[in-house]
Every structure is written in structure tokens, then in C-alpha cells.
Symmetry: none
Subunit: 208 residues, 4 copies
């Protein structure tokens, strides 16, 4: 136990178990939804006993929290790669939109459904999501807008509302898609480009 090698091995095993359980949870949650999923379902999927789940997660909600934790969601909100200095507005915007739109496409938006569904109803989850996912997304975007604004490239009004509108558009489209909108499903991959144009230029016809 005091053997550091052993200890670290234990830790790694524990981390692996956590991952194993979370993978199972994601899979089953996505299939059946949070409330319809029983611990037994997850245990079965993870090929473990019911009780074992509770060695690694305090309760069912903690599994959802676990799914939101950085290592798993980083991919979705990490926008550091966007920081290339002289990318043009349209490209950056497109990448910003592309990121979450495609991340949730993987499992047919099932995980998006589960997370958002529960977030709307669970205070703690809501706060975590705001901190760990939405917040970083907004801050990342805001930095860009501010940068462009300072460079005189965009009109400088209401940056904080603007970024929320853009993020909202992304969330909202995920929502519409999750509700089974056929049109979106058919054209999902063209969305980043279309949305980027819309945001940059608006719907108004360019004056000659």
C-alpha cells in the first residue's frame, strides 16, 4: 500500500474502471434515457455487479456528472486550436460551429438529448454544465469577437449578447435536430458554412 508503484497501479486500474463504467453509462443512457436506465442496466453493460458501480460513483446522478467531466468533454469545447492569429472571420466561425455540431453527431445526438434533458431538471448538473461546457464555449467565442471588434472588423455592439446568440443558435439547432427535424438531418454537414455566412453577413441582401 505504501509502495508507490503499487499505488499508482491501483490508481490506474481505478481510472480504467471509472472509464469502463462511464462508457457503459453513456451507451445505455443514450439508448434509454437517464430515468429509464437502471443501475442494473449499466452494470450489465459494463459487465460488473451493481454494487461495484457505487465504489466509483456516489449515485446515479454522479454518473452524469462524470460524463461531463473535462477529460470526456474537453474535445467538445476545446477551441485552443482556433487561436491562429490571422484566420479570417468566416473560417473561425465555421470551425467554432463545426466543433459541437459534429461532436454530438457521432451517437446520433442521443447523448445530447440525455444530458440536456437532465440538465434542465437538475440544479447541480446545470451548474456544472454551465461551468464546464457552456462557460468555456462562451468565453472562447467572446475573446474572438472582442479581438475582431478591436480590429474594427465587426461592429462592436453587445458582444456578450452576440456570443450568446451564436452559441444559442448552435444549441438550438442541436435541439431541433434532436427532435427529429428531417431537413436538418439531411443538411447537417453544410450547417457550419451556412451558419457562418448568416452570422457574418446577416440575411439582408448585400447592397451593390
Amino acid at each position: 500500500m505504501k509502495d508507490p508503484v503499487k499505488a499508482s497501479l491501483q490508481e490506474q486500474l481505478a481510472a480504467a474502471r471509472r472509464a469502463q463504467i462511464l462508457d457503459a453509462a453513456i451507451k445505455v443512457f443514450a439508448q434509454k434515457g437517464f430515468h429509464a436506465t437502471t443501475i442494473k442496466d449499466i452494470a450489465r453493460e459494463a459487465d460488473l455487479a451493481d454494487g461495484t458501480i457505487y465504489k466509483y460513483f456516489e449515485n446515479k446522478t454522479a454518473l452524469l456528472l462524470g460524463i461531463l467531466e473535462p477529460p470526456r468533454t474537453r474535445a467538445q469545447q476545446d477551441m485552443s486550436f482556433l487561436l491562429e492569429p490571422d484566420a479570417d472571420i468566416h473560417s473561425v466561425m465555421k470551425a467554432f460551429i463545426h466543433q459541437p455540431l459534429m461532436a454530438f453527431k457521432k451517437d446520433n445526438f442521443e447523448l445530447f438529448k440525455v444530458i440536456v434533458s437532465e440538465i434542465l431538471v437538475n440544479q447541480e448538473l446545470r451548474e456544472r454544465f454551465h461551468q464546464q461546457v457552456l462557460g468555456p464555449m462562451l468565453q472562447g467565442g467572446e475573446a474572438y469577437l472582442r479581438h475582431w471588434s478591436e480590429q474594427g472588423m465587426i461592429s462592436p455592439q453587445n458582444i456578450d449578447l452576440t456570443i450568446r446568440a451564436i452559441a444559442g443558435m448552435i444549441l438550438g439547432l442541436l435541439l431541433e435536430q434532436s427532435m427529429g427535424d428531417q431537413t436538418l438531418e439531411a443538411q447537417w454537414d453544410t450547417l457550419p458554412d451556412t451558419l457562418a455566412s448568416l452570422i457574418v453577413n446577416g440575411i439582408k441582401k448585400e447592397p451593390l
Copy 2:
């Protein structure tokens, strides 16, 4: 029974009961969420017995379906008043956005949370919502865009995607607000105007 007067009286009473129960359901769902609400809660709020609920609604989910039914949600998506012929784009857009944003503000977005949360997880509910709420909203908007497009007032690309993006923006902002975003809460009433501008003009600085 076959007396038409009696029959219609019955119907009216039944309709009143339904309304009474739905009102109670809305209230309690908004307070405690769908799953945390028991039939007993609703019965108590409606001043009825548990069993009576089941005379008017098949099960708990049917109550949520009931809440989405036209008479109750029409207000939210009815845009007939927008049909005034020569309103300018910005005004129409502003009205289009104002409508749902304010409708859900009444009860602090609690009903929005409940409905969306459950919609994301319940197939039947999802379809109904798409038919009865989202669909009409999209169609109404699309008609406008098409009209303007024909008049050469907006660029004619991807109207179906554009209206979805606009609707998505609205839904997404409701979502962000529901997650407790302080910035949105503080500036909620200015949103219709800001969003309308954004959508019409984009973020790009107007060329001189």
C-alpha cells in the same frame, strides 16, 4: 345521453375539468419538474382525487401532451398577426422573436424546462411538439423569408436552413437562460431587438 343539449353540456363540463387539471399540472410541473411531480400533487392542486385525473387523461405523460395541445400553445406560435403586408424586415423579425421569448418568461422558464426536458426523452412527445409547436413556427417564418426573398429583399440562399437557424437561436437562448445564465437574464428584454439586428445585418461591420 343522446340528448344533444345534455351531450354538449357534458362535453363542456369535461372540457372544463380537463382545463382545470391541466392548469394544475402546469403549475406543479413548473414547480417540481415532471418526474418529481406525483399524480397526487396534481390532484391536490386541482382539488380532485387521484383517480379522477385518470378519467380525463390516460396517464401521466398524457398530461404533458395535453399541455402541448393547440388551445394552450397556439398563443405561443400564432403568428397570424404578423401577416401585415408591408411591415419592414426588422420589425417582423423582432416580433417573431419577441413572441416565444416572452411567452416563457412568465413562469421563469420553468415550463420550458419541463417540456423540453421530457421532449428530449420521449418519442411521442417529441413528435407532437414538432407537429404542433416547432412545425408551425418554422412554416410561419419560412413564409416570410420566402416572401422577402421573392421581393429581392434578402439573399435567397437556403431558406429552410436559415429559418431553422433563426428558430434555433430562439430555442438556444431559452436553453441558455434556463441554465441560469446571468447575462441573458439581465438583458432578456433587449434580446428581440439585438437578435433582429444580428440576423438582418450579421456581425460584419457595414462597409462605408
Copy 3:
């Protein structure tokens, strides 16, 4: 519901159910002990569904509390009949002792075991027992001792400790009996007389 006849009927039915459940609980608790008894056991014994128990008792502990409630335990501690003015000390003492010793004999001291066992471990139960059973017993006895003391019939020292010693003797003998002491079992019925003598005269040989 507002019909008083109906209401009272309801109340009577409810009281009957409570009694039915408590009877079942007493029986099963006495057989298997508190912890080893499941709600299902009690429900089965009462010929009801599990859930029904919870309509009448908040939880398992409340069943034990119910058993201690006055209507059921009054018999054990009611000493009003003792208040006859000029009964001699020995007779009164004998009656005082006889009462609880015989009350618990009925079911072979099984209920005594269950109640005391749980009382020792459960704060709330302990307080209730002290209030509803032990307290009255002590007060009743104390009144007598005080009466006799004022009449110069007993030495007036430490009445409150003396009555506790007497009550303790009774409790302790119930405990020893509950532990399976054969000697006590064989002579249980002679105890009231023997104890009364001991308490009144002590063990010391009377001086000639």
C-alpha cells in the same frame, strides 16, 4: 367527503387497518425480531400489500412507535386501580409488580425483547418509551411511596431513587427472564409476592 357520517366511517376503517397492521407487526416482530423482520413479512401477515403499510405508518420504526402508543400499552402501566386508599403496603407493592410481570408473560416476553432491544439503540423510541411507559410507571409508584412516607409507614429516604430501584428490579427480572433464566421461568408467578416481601422488609433477619 363532507358527509360527517362517511368521514367517521372512514376514520373507523382507518383505525381498524392500523390495528390490523400493528397486530401483524407485533406478531412478526416477536417471532423474528425487529431487524430481521421485513415490511413484506408484516404485509403478508396482515394480508395486505407492502405499499399499504406505508399509508398508515411512515416507516418501519413508526410501527414500533405505534406499538408503544397508549391504547396498546395502557394496560401495562395503568395503575389507577391501585388508588384504593387503605390497601396495605405489601398488597399494593405486589399488585404493582404483578402488572408488568404478567403483561409480558403472554407472548413469552418476545415483545419485551423486541421493544427493549430497539429502544436501546433508537433515540426517538427511547424518549417515547420513557414518556409513555416508564415515566407513568415511576410517577404512579412515587405517589404511593410519598403517601406512605407521609403516613410514617416507610422511612422517607430517597423516594425517587427507591422507586427507580423497584422499577429497575422489575425491568431487570424481565431482562433475566428474557435471557432464558430457567429458575425465573419456573417461579415466575411467585415473583410478585417474593419481591414485595423483599422490598418491604429487606433481606435482613427480623430482630426478635
Copy 4:
């Protein structure tokens, strides 16, 4: 293995472990009660792993049995020191009472609660307690009474019932105290003297 020195060393180590575990068990049982205590609690307190407990004790109940075993409880019931030949009745009685009353005072009667609570519900434990604690106590006391009786110092009736009444008084007072009786708590230390007088002389006023 067959080396007697080694074997005895092993035995001593094992005995030390047993003691270590029992000490931990006593401590935790007294704090939380038998059922509320988990093996993990005890293991933590003993600074061992859960599984190790099972190398030394067959199961949780065996820990309670272990607590009752002679080396640990002898102190409580050992009355050999009372065997001084010509002590007067009152002094001996006082010492006899003093012994258990003070032994359990140490930990605020918590251990008494735990042991008695479980004894009342567990057959095996009950028998062990009767053999190892109650029996010796009764036999020791009986020897005295018989001695005094032969010397004509006490009335010779029902010695076996009398000693049980005395022991019962002690147990019963421990019980009352364990139930939170304030009066007893305040005067606990004067009990041995008061009780000894009561038992020797009874409550009756001495005839002049």
C-alpha cells in the same frame, strides 16, 4: 510451523490482532450501535483491511461474542476480592452493586446498550451472556447469601429468587439509566449505598 517457539509467537501475534480488532469494535459499536456499524468502520478504526477482520472472526456477530469473552468481561463480574471473610452485609452488598454500575459508566453505558440490545435478539449471544456474565454474577452472589443465611444473618427464604432480584435491580437500573433517566444520572454514584440499604433493610420503617 511445527516449531513450538514460532507457533507460540504466531499465537501471540494472533491474540494481539484479536485484541486490536475487539478494541476497535468496542469503540465503534459504542459510538454507532451494532447494526449501524459496518465492518469497514471497525477495520478503519483498527487500521486494517476489511478482509483481515475475517481472518480472526467468523462474522460480525462473532465480534460481539468476542467482546463478551472472559478476559474482557472478567473484570466486570469478578467478585473474588469480595471473599474477605468477615465483611458486613452492607459493605459486601455495596461492593457487589458498585462493580457493574461503575464498569458500564465509563463509556456512558453505550456498550451496555449495544450488548443488551443485541443479546435480546440473538439466541447464541444470549446463551453466552448467560453463561459468561450473568451466571457467574448470580453464583457469586448466591454463595454470599447462602453463607449469611447459614450464619443466621438473613432470612433464609428463596435465596435463588432473591439473588436474581438483586441482580435484576442492577440490570434494571442500568437499563433505566441507558434510557436517559435524568434522576439516575444525577445520583448514579450514590446508588450502591442506597441500594444496599434498601436490599438489607427494605423500605419499611424500623420498629422502635
